[in-house]
């Protein structure tokens, strides 16, 4: 079945450093969605990418969808303590009925 691989599992950064998480699929994706989940919370929708090569920005967050629509990345510039949480990518299956989720990347700010 369709799978989405996400790396790394964890990323420790000093506050002010950048953070990046990557998602890859062996099959072409119709779209990719990104979510943030705070500790003890529920996934919160961040953005959706649908076009090949698409790049979208939300303040310090930059989202990219690969030209082949098989990979995506989320980059956070100058991390802040409010960025702490787990970032998930998720892709709709061909039927558009279910989301296939990556394993998530946990952003940890070093004290």
């Amino acid at each position: 079945g369709q799978q989405v691989m996400q790396i790394p599992q964890y990323q420790h950064v000093q506050e002010g450093e950048d953070f990046t998480t990557y998602c890859n699929s062996s099959t072409t994706l119709s779209n990719i969605q990104w979510y943030k989940q705070r500790p003890g919370g529920h996934p919160v929708f961040l953005i959706q990418l649908v076009k090949s090569g698409e790049v979208k920005k939300q303040k310090r967050l930059t989202f990219q969808f690969g030209e082949a629509k098989k990979n995506s990345s989320l980059h956070i510039t100058a991390t802040q303590t409010t960025d702490v949480g787990t970032y998930f990518c998720a892709a709709l299956t061909d039927s558009n009925y279910q989301l296939i989720w990556g394993a998530g990347t946990k952003l940890i700010i070093k004290p």
Binding site: H42, P43, V44, V50, N96, L99, W101, A103
Partner: protein
Amino acid sequence: DAGVTQSPTHLIKTRGQQVTLRCSPKSGHDTVSWYQQALGQGPQFIFQYYEEEERQRGNFPDRFSGHQYPNYSSELNVNALLLGDSALYLCASSRDRSDAGNTIYFGEGSWLTVV
């Protein structure tokens, strides 16, 4: 405009018992999906309901069943609970669209602990 609401937020059950979780979708949404999220993992799709019928099902046993009512609200039932059913159960709502631009909204989830 109320978002997706789920109840209860937390509950503890004993192995072998049955549980019912409830979800009211976002106003204007007619499609409800249920996901199970074990600790430290990404959500796993259980099933989706549309027009009061199960439209698609993930890789979950028959112990997991659901229902959708005419007002689009939904229930998730789990019978014969196992310790491994302990997880966060998420309800997601959306408007039924065939294109890929469908925004999905999640509720805050129901934390189920099986002891």
